[in-house]
């Protein structure tokens, strides 16, 4: 296996980095071409150059707002994920607690989170905490569900093995179940990483005092579509970065998954 990877080094690089980059470049070129060919006004659909220009008009402001959105997103993602995983562990330890609270949590999760944004302002206030709570609400459930699925997916032969060694609940949990669950936990984390940005933006649109959501609100009020697009681009980049950060963590923590699932 190792020889093969070194053999195919340049090819893999092309496959993993070259092809995605080519895809992005082609999409940008197409976008540009469409705006020129049909003579579309920047107000309707700005060309890539207009977006870059809008960014260069207010680089400091945009970066600062992006930093605020990123902070809300990252803190909410971290809290929501840790809470989701912790509650899943609690459920794994006690089926009584699970039976009592899981239906409640599922029902709460069924409420559209965007509808809660105004209420969060009432409860928590016009501040960053309310925005973080929004992100937490969105991230919590997918991580909870995926962690629970992972913890209960331990195959029978491994269960029987730890039983035959008289391993305690805690030993089985630490040495077998939690590691076994990691690949599935990461599925939840990837979903949560996308939802985190959505949560931050919903909160910022509801209370547009700061962040890229606020930039989008104010730029649409002043009909500055290129600026809105610059903010959207930053959001997309942020989302992709967060997603690939989770992917990179997965590769480091669970290098064995890909070997097994293939």
């Amino acid at each position: 296996m190792t020889d093969k990877t070194t053999d195919a080094g340049p090819r893999r690089l092309w496959f993993n980095a070259g092809l995605p980059a080519l895809g992005v470049v082609l999409a940008l070129a197409l976008w540009w071409l469409v705006t020129i060919a049909f003579g579309i006004e920047p107000f309707w659909l700005p060309a890539p150059s207009d977006v870059v220009e809008a960014f260069l008009r207010l680089p400091g402001h945009l970066t600062e707002q992006a930093g605020m959105t990123l902070m809300t997103t990252a803190v909410g993602f971290a809290i929501g994920s840790i809470a989701g995983a912790a509650v899943a562990v609690l459920f794994a330890a006690s089926s009584t607690i699970e039976r009592m609270t899981m239906p409640l949590i599922a029902a709460i999760n069924a409420v559209p989170k965007a509808a809660l944004a105004p209420l969060l302002i009432v409860w928590i206030g016009l501040n960053t905490q309310a925005k973080i709570v929004m992100v937490v609400l969105l991230c919590f459930f997918p991580v909870l569900v995926s962690t629970m699925a992972g913890l209960t997916s331990v195959p029978n032969d491994l269960r029987e093995l730890s039983h035959s060694l008289s391993a305690s609940w805690w030993q089985t949990f630490v040495k077998v179940r939690i590691t076994w669950a990691l690949p599935q936990i990461f599925v939840g984390l990837k979903v949560a990483s996308s939802l985190a940005i959505i949560g931050a933006v919903i909160a910022e649109l509801t209370n547009p005092d700061r962040g890229l959501g606020a930039v989008i609100v104010s730029s649409s009020q002043s009909a500055d579509t290129p600026l809105a697009f610059a903010a959207l681009t930053l959001l997309a980049l942020m989302g992709a970065a967060l997603f690939y950060l989770v992917v990179a963590m997965e590769r480091i923590l669970v290098p064995w998954t890909r070997a097994i699932s293939s």
């Binding site: 032969d157 029987e160 035959s164 040495k175």
Partner: protein
């Protein structure tokens, strides 16, 4: 070493109760290699799991070294049909798993693990992950993991049945060598008459529904035995034929032993 007396086990299924085992009496001597053979579903795994203390019997009891079995014991080790290795642990770390769980000092057992890996020809693979090994090698790792407990009793539930024919033979010959070397008492469940004849001192033939001991067959062939050309082809053929007859005979309409 093992005394099984009046052992019965029933399961509550959706379609009524299943008599998995009925009134089994068996004595396994110290260092004896007992093969258990029988049709699918006749209760072989159930028997082994009761001896291992994984499930309780419905009636009767099992004594290991004089003590009734109520829960898994450290001096009874189990090898399953599938290797059941932890995919994120190296071969060595998988073998050390029981040591960790028993909270034995690691340093004391590291050499033992190394010797077991050498004995099974795995010394070059100690730092590999399980998925880098062939099925036969994985099953060897699982055998090492059982042996690191220094078990008095080794329980094996069709340990080679998921492997190809050649690897099975190879591992069976190796198991025979290990058994001669260590003198562990073994109960070995198998579907293969060939394996039973190669390995066992005695073969317990089980009949199905309810599972009972239909016959105990002594295999008096000098060791080491082998699948290839050996000096005892006649005895091997005779023992195989007898077991074959017993297993197939169950299908005849009038079976004296089943009444």
């Amino acid at each position: 070493m093992i005394k099984i007396a009046g052992l019965s086990r029933t399961f509550q299924g959706k379609s009524g109760t299943v008599d998995a085992l009925h009134n089994i009496d068996l004595d396994v001597g110290n260092g004896e290699f007992l093969a258990v053979i029988g049709r699918s579903g006749c209760g072989k795994s159930t028997l082994l799991r009761i001896v291992a203390g994984l499930i309780p019997p419905s009636r009767g009891e099992v004594l290991v070294a004089g003590d009734p079995v109520t829960r898994p014991r450290r001096d009874v080790a189990m090898v399953f049909q599938r290797p059941a290795l932890l995919p994120w642990r190296s071969v060595r770390e998988n073998v050390m798993l029981p040591v960790e769980i028993f909270r034995w000092p690691r340093a004391k057992h590291r050499d033992h693990a190394q010797r077991l890996l050498e004995m099974t020809g795995l010394e070059g693979f100690a730092d590999r992950l399980p998925h880098e090994l062939s099925g036969g090698m994985q099953q060897r790792v699982s055998l090492c993991r059982a042996l690191i407990q220094r078990p008095k009793v080794l329980l094996m539930d069709e340990p080679f049945s998921a492997l190809d024919a050649l690897t099975r033979e190879e591992l069976a010959v190796e198991l025979q060598r290990i058994h001669i070397q260590l003198g562990t008492t073994v109960i070995f469940v198998t579907h293969s008459i060939q394996e039973a004849v190669l390995l066992a001192d005695r073969v317990a033939v089980l009949s199905a529904r309810p599972g009972r001991v239909r016959e105990l067959v002594d295999i008096d062939i000098p060791r080491p035995r082998s699948f290839g050309h050996n000096a005892h082809l006649e005895e091997v053929a005779a023992a195989s034929a007898e077991l074959h007859q017993l297993l197939l005979g169950e299908h005849l309409p009038e079976t004296p032993a089943a009444t």
